[in-house]
Symmetry: C2
Subunit: 405 residues, 2 copies
């Protein structure tokens, strides 16, 4: 038995937050039914794509789900989708969407079909206006403190961090609401705005207080870790290594592994700083980095790694995506996170399952991205208990479609 | 009633992932008890700090929690912590730690005290070796594709995205495990490695497949949105605006708002591209940006905003943290996400609650970061049912401490 065996979730969503939420729950064993228009959703062709045009992004964010293709412009198609969203069962009636919750997706209308429906609506802004990861990120400060000190232009992040965090927050919220429904019988609408996800984090990390209490606007510190010591260094073989000394233990191991104890002691005396205090390490980040730079420059990455490991210092090697995939054993079948999964339109790739290891439940094998409409018939027969004749009529009228078109 | 009313979680953790997980659950109404050593945990002085040395970071990531201070080096203190972790109650027995699950934190030992314990152990790497957000991020590709094209040095992110996602994943995992325990009675140990969080996302977004199937190592595209159109532009008053045209609708509104339809049509003809296809917009990102640049340069940010809003185009203004706090209405009491919260050592600040709005449950007021040891007596009396006399002895022996020291 998997941790979420039996739970059924439906989804009308696109891009990252919504699909990532349900993908993550599917990876814990939930049955997830993604409902898409006949031609595929807004994200169906999102890059990266294969030479044949299949979206690797869509396949990745929808793996382990069932795909149902319905004409969502037709009233009959919308009714089918509503019936799937509100189908019976104490472990069903859980729905996620990032579309406007109006018209056929209006919560009150859906509640008429299932009174204890749990529905998560992911919004851009709380007022319903549009926002994407990119247009939220620019507003919340981080691009202006990312990148080389002295530059004034913003540096966007490439990782869609707010989308991912929003999706996982929605997953947490739906499980909290399902717990509440199980105890008290009540369904409800959850609203989650992407911009609120980012605003909350800015507050959680103390950045709002830094402005309001300290009167400070965080400066750009390049690759230095703020408030402690951490930086990247180039090695003799032109690789780069990131070292981190956030805790006192990490600081001691770094100093020992690199043999700079005496120079550090002199630096403490000349600056009247105490590097057992993390803030003092940050204050002296440039001279500390200057002491470490020649040590790395004199060693290959392998030599530096061996020395750092011998003292259990905290470090990491910079890798491109290709280097990660081709050279890092953590990104291989040696890591139980991954399995080799074959997708009929893509081929075989290293595919992750859930990063959570539930040690007393069966693991869920990493899923495969569905073919659009692959599960239309199966779901309509099983969940809505349609007859084969009814299903045939829906196909004939082009209200639904299977995988072969 | 709040969505997680009654749930009790204990925590022995530091830095971001663990504390963020429980902070997020406290913001949904769970009772969270953070157990720290008498002098505070590893993160107790983490920057940013006030002039008086109080950590704004610690206050932010622990708000809404109860703080218990115990001498965790003393066997008697460890037994008290174990008793709190394994205290009875069907809504209790949920524990999160990012410390090594050995010695007094060994899962099997704790299970002897409560057989259905749910324990989430956050690790650096799956093998138990150390890794932080910074040393994971460098390994998973993103720093080498962030920042100006042509640069070769990596650009670290400033947002601790992997930590935050790891914390929220742990929250999801614990609620999934609590659901399973409620249905089947079984406790369990959850293991979550920070590096697996990042590796899974690299796979989920199609980046592993891009290497393995397409043989491509993602290039650096600066502030361009990969695979669609999006970029930043400078305005006449030296502000910057990010525009995004990921969906076809967003593209049409952008073209209309900026009046570049004719030039775009000519560009499509001269390049034989079709900008209704998102990939073609990405291919022509430089000439498209060149068409938009003068439009922004000729307008103030306010003028550009008004024109973009009139067509409901998708855009955002770059803001520093101070600009966000001082100028953006979303980051103010006008947004129900926030309340003004007074912390005795910090003062009054705008403080976020949960970004999830459960429309049929009572909201949880944004919490306050506790004073270290503030709830020691309350928790030991209420949860462990100690007598005042027993409590007095523990204080006399300096096994526990309250807030006043």
């Amino acid at each position: 038995m998997t941790i979420l065996s039996g739970l059924r979730i439906t989804e009308c969503a696109a891009f990252i937050a919504g699909p990532f939420a349900t993908m993550s729950l599917a990876a814990l064993g939930a049955e997830v039914i993604r409902i898409d228009p006949l031609e595929g959703g807004l994200d169906y062709h999102r890059w990266p794509v294969t030479a044949g045009g299949t979206s690797l992004y869509w396949a990745g964010l929808n793996k382990g789900k069932k795909s149902v293709a319905v004409d969502l412009r037709a009233p009959e198609g919308r009714e089918l989708a509503q019936a799937l969203i509100t189908a019976r069962g104490e472990d069903a009636g859980i729905f996620i969407t990032n579309f406007p919750a109006t018209g056929w997706l209006d919560f009150e209308k859906l509640k008429d079909l299932r009174s204890d429906l749990l529905m998560a609506n992911i919004l851009g802004n709380r007022d319903g206006s549009t926002a994407l990861d990119y247009t939220v990120n620019c507003a919340v400060g981080f691009p202006l403190v990312t990148g080389t000190p002295g530059e004034t232009a913003p540096t966007n992040h490439v990782l869609p961090a707010w989308d991912l965090l929003c999706g996982m927050t929605a997953a947490t919220g739906l499980l909290a609401a399902e717990r509440h429904r199980r105890k008290h019988g009540a369904g409800q609408l959850l609203k989650i705005a992407l911009s609120d996800i980012a605003l909350a984090v800015v507050g959680d990390l103390g950045l709002i207080a830094e402005v309001q209490i300290n009167g400070e606007d965080r400066a750009r510190h390049g690759n230095h870790i703020f408030g402690a010591f951490g930086h990247d260094f180039e090695t003799a073989d032109n690789r780069r290594i990131m070292v981190a000394a956030v805790s006192l233990g990490q600081w001691k191991t770094l100093v020992k592994a690199t043999g700079i104890a005496e120079s550090i002691s002199q630096l403490e005396q000349s600056t009247s700083l105490d590097f057992t205090r993390e803030g003092d390490r940050f204050t002296a980040r440039e001279p500390i980095a200057a002491l470490l730079k020649p040590w790395f420059a004199a060693r290959t990455a392998a030599q530096a790694a061996a020395a750092l490991d011998s003292e259990k210092a905290c470090w990491g090697l910079y890798q491109s995506f290709a280097q990660l995939v081709n050279e890092d054993p953590r990104c291989s079948l040696a890591n139980p996170l991954f399995a080799q999964v074959h997708h009929p339109k893509i081929g075989a790739t290293l595919t992750p399952g859930s990063p959570i290891d539930f040690t007393s439940c069966d693991p869920v094998a990493p899923g495969i991205g569905p073919i659009l409409g692959q599960h239309t018939d199966e779901v309509l027969l099983d969940v809505l208990k349609l007859s084969s004749a009814q299903l045939g009529i829906l196909h004939d009228k082009r209200i639904v479609a299977g995988a072969e078109r």
